[in-house]
């Protein structure tokens, strides 16, 4: 018998993989049938509300929760922080109250007597001098390569610039939270809004004194995560504790303001850069020092990603973290990368302008300093064609245009890993030919169920309707957390492996029964065929497994070609700026992205569209605003924390770079990469339009007008 090797089939033979397949749970999501943690309301459920501290820095000097306990409907009270506790950022949880109804829980919160001693705070995240004076800085690494000073002396062109990007939050539409229900004293069911179904039980079990085997984590749907929902969190534990106290199920979701204040953010970064190039536009020296904050820990963007994508021969990079009374960071879609891209590829663009060169040419000239020069070059050519770069580009600020409206083009590029996470699957082929798979994964919007179904159906040559995908509980075989663009590779790898192994077992049964060579068999369009001839139907073949289902397990990732890591990606923006109002409009935004083998082009495309829109958000409008006087996060609501709406995004063009060389790599993660470059691409387009740099993102109308005043 020939050796059987796991792998993807020939590209041209696929009937499902790589096609545009609507997601399986689409109708359930759109029609409201899909139930989230926030929708969970089993019989007797109580509703929790929280008292939070609204000072940036304070000490609790008095806390009396007794009045809350007397409020009508209140059944349980949990204290997060008691008297003498030091509160170190706005929004810190103090007390949770569970009651028969949400409004009664609110009454309970209002009845609590609390007094604070307000302490000095520091929340000014771009004020490096002030932070140093206040002794709130941390030196975070100073890495040197080559001889920057010597290279700058010989450089033909030298540019010095300052750039920055403010803190943003995750702003999940479904806030963090859970529904907790005890089954007796020693067993807990948590319906959790989580990106980490298989990895959270222990975080409940340990602190609650339970066996991990007695904690079930359920999550059929999650209303946004973006890197912020990997943990049980103190409020998850509080929900379980309230439920225990009351002897009733409890649902606890963070309120909107608290969600923004304490449930994660993406650190800010501000940089001073000196960059030098030779007469040909080859960058010969890079010197950068950046600073910013991730809250009380005093960290900022990793130095390891500076300068972004490119690594020059002579390069110094250092960073200083600022310790602030701001909520703590969490992983935010492509941690470190969007900020690093925004504060370093803008400098490259300004250097190009200083040289009097087209920034496209300067990026192209320096591609040898990237890890994927050939892919970037191809993607740049495709993107340039799609946005008509050669015809539309003009030197910065020299585009003319009607009246106050100035138009410009900008580009940027990114990189990401996206290796499949560790996962297992249990696959059952039932004697009637239907197939079931089980995995403790989750769908953060990726289309996890759909990707698994496509993989299994393609392998067996059966319709997707014959495959039942079971995810969403830690009682199934473990699956990795959905973070870092690891999920589609993580779940399709083990399922392909399991399905191929199951199919080979069935081929052996078919070969024995029908007296054919097992090696000649293929599963196609509901039949088992040999050399183009039908041997039996899939159902007949499946029935050979006996009265019980054939069970096969699959694991991953393995070095068998199903998955890989490492992508490039190029984006180009066409924008106009109204120099009277400072308002920026996106006309066209092109993303060219490689990601190996694409399982479902429809949902893959959605990932890129979504990333571009998130990118437009942090490029133009979205930021956390801390008030230096009060130490508060003053725009912690959906009205003043500005996100783009359906009319604000312009014409988005998504193009996958997918030659056979990409297909042959197997699946590579896609979620993070396209969200990285928009900040720099749009900033560069704005600089091209108006001839001055708007140094800090988001480029709000005020910042645009300030830049125009300063640059005039």
């Amino acid at each position: 018998m020939a050796e059987r090797t796991v792998g993807w089939g020939p590209r041209e033979s696929n009937t499902l993989i790589g096609k545009e397949i609507p997601r399986l749970d689409g109708a359930a999501k759109a029609s409201g049938a899909a139930k989230y943690a926030a929708d969970t309301n089993t019989k007797g459920t109580l509703f929790a509300r929280m008292l939070t501290c609204k000072h940036g820095h304070a000490k609790i000097v008095k806390l009396n929760v007794e009045p809350a306990k007397k409020v009508k409907g209140v059944k349980a009270v949990h204290i997060f922080n008691d008297v003498d506790a030091e509160i170190r950022w706005d929004g810190t949880l103090v007390v949770a109250v569970a009651a028969e109804r949400p409004e009664q829980a609110e009454d309970g919160v209002r009845a609590i007597e609390v007094e604070y001693e307000v302490l000095p705070h520091f929340v000014d995240e771009d004020d490096l001098a002030g932070a140093e004076k206040a002794e709130r800085t941390k030196k975070l690494g100073n890495q040197k390569k080559g001889d920057v000073e010597a290279a700058l002396k010989t450089a033909k062109h030298v540019h010095k610039g300052h750039y920055g990007i403010n803190t943003i939050t995750h702003m999940c539409m479904e806030p963090h939270g859970s529904h907790c229900e005890w089954n007796g004293d020693d067993s807990l069911t948590v319906t959790l809004s989580t990106q980490n179904v298989s990895g959270t039980a222990g975080q409940f079990a340990g602190p609650l004194g339970l066996d991990a085997s007695n904690v079930e984590i359920k999550c059929d749907y999650i209303g946004g995560g973006f890197g912020s929902k990997f943990a049980a969190d103190e409020w998850g534990l509080a929900c379980a504790q309230l439920a225990k106290q009351a002897g009733r199920p409890v649902r606890l979701m963070l309120d909107r303001a608290t969600e923004l204040k304490i449930a994660g953010n993406r650190p800010s970064g501000f940089v001073d850069i000196t960059i030098g190039a030779d007469a040909d536009g080859k960058i010969v020296a890079w010197d950068s020092h950046h600073w910013g904050t991730d809250g009380i820990n005093g960290s900022t963007i990793s130095t390891g990603v500076m300068p972004y994508v490119f690594d020059f021969d002579n390069r110094n990079r250092s960073a200083t973290g600022i310790i602030t009374n701001c909520g703590p960071k969490r992983a935010w879609r492509a941690p470190n990368h969007p900020q690093a891209c925004a504060i370093s590829q803008t400098a490259i663009d300004d250097l190009a302008a200083k040289m009097g060169k087209d920034s496209y040419d300067v990026f192209m000239t320096n591609l040898d300093k990237t890890k994927k020069p050939d892919v970037y070059a191809e993607e740049m050519k495709i993107a340039a064609k799609l946005i008509d770069w050669k015809a539309k580009w003009h030197p910065h600020g020299k585009g003319g245009g009607k009246g106050s409206i100035k138009r410009g083009l900008g580009m940027a590029m990114h990189t990401w890993g996206g290796r499949a996470h560790a996962a297992s699957t249990l696959l059952k082929v039932h004697p009637d030919g239907t197939v079931e798979t089980f995995g403790g994964s989750q769908d953060i919007g990726t289309g996890t169920r759909t990707a698994i179904s496509i993989t299994v159906a393609e392998t067996f040559g059966i319709p997707m309707s014959s495959v039942k995908v079971n995810i969403g509980t830690n009682k199934y075989p473990k699956s990795g957390p959905s973070g870092g663009s690891t999920t589609v590779g993580g779940v399709t790898g083990p399922n392909r492996r399991a399905a191929q192994n199951a199919l080979w077992k069935i081929f052996d049964l078919v070969a024995a029964k029908y007296k054919v060579d097992a090696d000649s068999l293929e599963a196609k369009a509901g039949n088992i065929v040999s050399k183009g001839k039908k041997v039996c139907s899939w159902k007949q073949a499946a029935s050979l497994v006996g009265p019980m289902a054939l069970e096969v397990t699959g694991e991953g990732p393995k070095a068998d070609g199903l998955t890989d890591s490492g992508v490039a990606g190029v984006q180009m923006a066409d924008v106009s700026v109204d120099t009277e109002t400072g308002k920026i409009r996106i006309h066209k935004f092109v993303a060219v992205q490689d990601c190996g083998l694409i399982i479902d082009e429809l949902t893959a495309r959605s990932q890129v569209y979504g990333a571009l829109i998130m990118g437009i958000a942090f490029a133009l409008s979205e930021e956390r605003i801390m008030d230096n006087t009060s130490g508060r996060f003053i725009n912690a609501d959906l009205e003043n924390y500005k996100l783009p709406r359906i009319g604000d995004i312009g014409n988005l063009v998504v193009e996958f770079y997918q030659p056979d060389s990409e297909y042959d790599r197997g699946v590579v993660g896609l979620g993070e990469p396209p969200v990285i470059a928009p900040g720099a691409a749009i900033s560069n387009a704005v600089a091209n339009a108006i001839g001055v740099r708007v140094p800090v993102l988001p480029m709000t109308p005020k910042r645009v007008l300030d830049a125009l005043k300063g640059g005039a």
Binding site: A28, V109, R110, M171, E174, L254, R256, L602, G610
Partner: protein, 209 residues
């Protein structure tokens, strides 16, 4: 107002007028919520206590069927639909005026359920997203959303589906420009605007033929 500080001893069955009076209590209570927790505010606010009105019967007509529930006058339509009646397609993002995730159609008009009290919706025809799907029979907005993948996490999606339904009912031949404006009341964080636009545009073109 004197009566704001008194307990409202409402009878089990309360008139609409008494209910609205009760909702005044709710407004006062809500206003206190933002500052009442803090020590200095407590000093200024004296010892006066705000007490909630008791619950009364409210009848809501949802998707063509009458439901009678007992809720306090301050309970929003959003909470009544979700927590009392189980219509959880109407999503709670805890921001009642900005996101549109709680969009329902009341007497033909798109309305944010979080911005209405349950009591003021009595006698009106309330349509939730659940009305757009009946088993495998789904409204063309739902099938259009699926076809164009107008969703990712899906949490804002039912609200967008309702906004799209209400918008197309009024503008069956809408242009792209009108769609971009008309659906501007809803927010999506995953960034699904492209699919939503394509769905609305396709249905509007159908309406145009």
């Amino acid at each position: 107002m004197q009566d704001r500080e008194k307990p409202n001893k409402g009878a089990p069955t309360v008139s609409r007028r008494a209910f609205l009076k009760g909702s005044g209590v709710a407004v006062a209570a809500t206003a206190m919520a933002t500052s009442g927790q803090e020590a200095d505010a407590q000093k200024k606010g004296s010892k006066k206590r705000v007490v909630a009105a008791s619950g009364g019967k409210v009848t809501l007509n949802v998707n063509g069927k009458d439901y009678t529930i007992t809720v306090e006058p301050r309970v929003t339509l959003l909470d009544a639909l979700r927590d009392d009646l189980g219509f959880t397609g109407c999503k709670d993002v805890d921001d009642t005026t900005t996101s549109g995730a709680d969009t329902v159609i009341i007497d033909g008009k798109a309305v944010l359920a979080g911005s209405r009290l349950a009591v003021e919706c009595q006698g009106k025809k309330i349509q939730t997203v659940e009305s757009l799907a009946n088993g495998k029979q789904v409204d063309e907005v739902i099938s259009g959303f699926v076809k164009h993948d107008a969703m990712q996490c899906g949490f804002c999606t039912p609200g967008f589906a309702m906004a799209t339904r209400a918008f197309l009912n009024k503008n069956p031949k809408a242009s792209l420009k009108q769609i971009r404006k008309g659906l501007g009341g809803n927010l999506c964080r995953c960034g699904t605007y492209d699919g939503i636009t394509k769905c609305a545009l396709e249905l509007a073109k159908k309406g145009d033929s």
